[in-house]
């Protein structure tokens, strides 16, 4: 029977499906950062709040590791987006 879950969108921001995520995990891209670099999961406006957990669970399942052993990947500052015009004024305003 065909696997219906493969068309589920796991990362809404970047429109990435479960099928794509599983396909690349199977090819050996089994860390969150590798999948992020390849498929842009976690790089959307929500910065992975909507998809990180689900993807980490897939990695855990595919590699037979507990969730806690899956690396959640890097977060890069600034976490809160700030306008260029505000940053450009720096501390002098």
């Amino acid at each position: 029977m065909e696997d219906k879950t493969k068309d589920i969108i796991v990362c809404r921001c970047e429109e990435v499906t479960m099928g794509e995520v599983r396909e690349w995990i199977a090819k050996g891209y089994d860390t969150f950062d590798e999948l992020k670099r390849l498929l842009r999961v976690g790089m959307g406006p929500c910065q992975g709040r909507g998809c990180r957990e689900i993807i980490m669970r897939e990695i855990a399942k595919a590699t037979g590791r507990p969730m806690a052993a899956v690396d959640p990947g890097t977060f890069r500052p600034p976490v809160k987006p700030v306008k260029l015009g505000v940053l450009a004024k720096g501390g002098d305003n």
């Binding site: 670099r37 600034p78 940053l87």
Partner: protein, 383 residues
């Protein structure tokens, strides 16, 4: 991946240079090649870079390399069977000083003589190429529409996938801790997961290549500098279509296909402490550069900031050669700020040099011997 104790060739480093040379060795018929990467593929400088590609250079050697790179990228997605995200939106070079403009004009003459048809453009034309750009203080511009950028992750993963199809093995989370040398000949490596014997060891360790060279008893004068970069939220296309670059203005800025704008510069005193911090000073400085050049960008938000390392040599040109005192130990490092664009071409050239004894594009002048002989290859056109 199953672990084998022998290999025909070992490549240390899974960046653009390591994956490219591994792929090209396999393409030339070599079997049983292993790539060792201490983190994951494309986690080093390659995954942190601006990924710009240009042939607007100021030395004949770099113009030839640059043109070969542009041509390579133009057919790379086909060759590797995966989209590498090439986007040829051109580089617009901006000069603010008379001497700088004269140099750009000389560069254009040189590029044209080699078949790369860069043009000198007026301020009005510059504003058509990049609508909204504030460059009234600039005095001259050059543009070539074939320059551009590619996706560094997709490019490196495309090499990895193509190499895997030809039987190349990749071991990630595997750090090389020693290089075995017997009687002046490379014999293999020691890693955190065990040893592998091989008569051919290629050092493509990017910012760490001087440490890997030392493991084989080879001294190279490389060091690494931290360079920072920022990226904005995605906005509608057309805010900054070409790569805007200036040597005296000291910046590069460009909008990506997803709509985000990236920007970097070369501030004084790059820390060479191998850390990858992100500083407030850079964020503030770069935001000023952004808003001065693109006033209407002031309400666009910065979403991420990071840094990466340039592996530097005394003339900021790479080292691509066999070590003088260790036969079978090759170096491909020191790419400064242009190793992403060079990687596809230099990886192929090094593989040809190893397998065929000669390469389509000459690399002999890139031996590290040049530093002792005082034959430095000084390039005027770098940020």
């Amino acid at each position: 991946m199953t672990w084998k104790n022998t290999a025909e060739a070992i490549v240390i480093g899974g960046g653009i240079n390591g994956t490219s040379v591994a792929y090209n060795l396999a393409k030339l018929g070599m079997k049983n090649i292993v790539v060792l990467e201490k983190n994951t593929v494309c986690s080093g400088s390659t995954g942190r870079c601006g990924a710009g590609i240009r042939a607007q250079w100021g030395t004949e050697m770099n113009c030839r390399f640059g043109l070969a790179c542009v041509e390579k990228f133009e057919q790379l997605s086909d060759e590797l069977g995966m989209d590498v995200g090439l986007n040829q939106s051109g580089y617009l070079m901006v000069a603010y000083q008379q001497s700088e403009y004269e140099q750009l004009q000389k560069n254009v003459a040189l590029q044209n003589s080699l078949g790369y048809m860069t043009k000198i453009v007026s301020r009005e034309e510059a504003k058509e190429i990049c609508p909204g750009v504030a460059v009234d203080d600039a005095i001259g511009f050059t543009f070539n529409h074939r320059d551009g950028h590619a996706d560094p992750f997709l490019t490196t993963f495309a090499y990895q996938e193509a190499a895997k199809r030809m039987g190349v093995t990749f071991h990630k989370h595997t750090e090389v801790t020693g290089v075995k040398v017997h009687n002046g000949v490379a014999a293999g490596v020691v890693t955190t997961r065990g040893e592998i014997d091989s008569p051919l060891v290629i050092n493509a360790a990017g910012p760490y290549s001087q440490f890997v060279a030392k493991m084989a008893g080879v001294d190279i004068p490389n060091y690494s500098e931290r360079h920072e970069i920022i990226i904005t939220e995605p906005v509608e296309p057309g805010v900054c279509p070409p790569m805007l670059m200036s040597f005296s203005g000291n910046y590069y800025l460009q909008q990506r296909p997803h709509g985000s704008i990236i920007g970097g510069c070369s501030p004084e005193g790059h820390p060479a402490d191998y850390t990858l911090g992100a500083t407030w000073d850079f964020l503030e400085h770069m935001s000023q550069v952004f808003t001065k050049l693109l006033p209407r960008a002031k309400d666009i938000r910065v979403v991420r900031q990071w840094s990466g390392l340039y592996n530097m040599t005394p003339d900021r040109q790479p080292i691509i050669c066999e070590a003088e005192n260790v036969k079978g130990f090759f170096l491909s490092c020191g790419y400064s700020g242009h190793g992403f664009m060079f990687g596809p071409v230099t990886g192929e050239a090094l593989a040809q040099h190893i397998v065929l004894g000669k390469s389509d594009i000459p690399i002999d002048m890139l031996h590290y011997r040049r530093f002792a002989e005082g034959k430095l290859l000084i390039e005027p056109a770098v940020v």
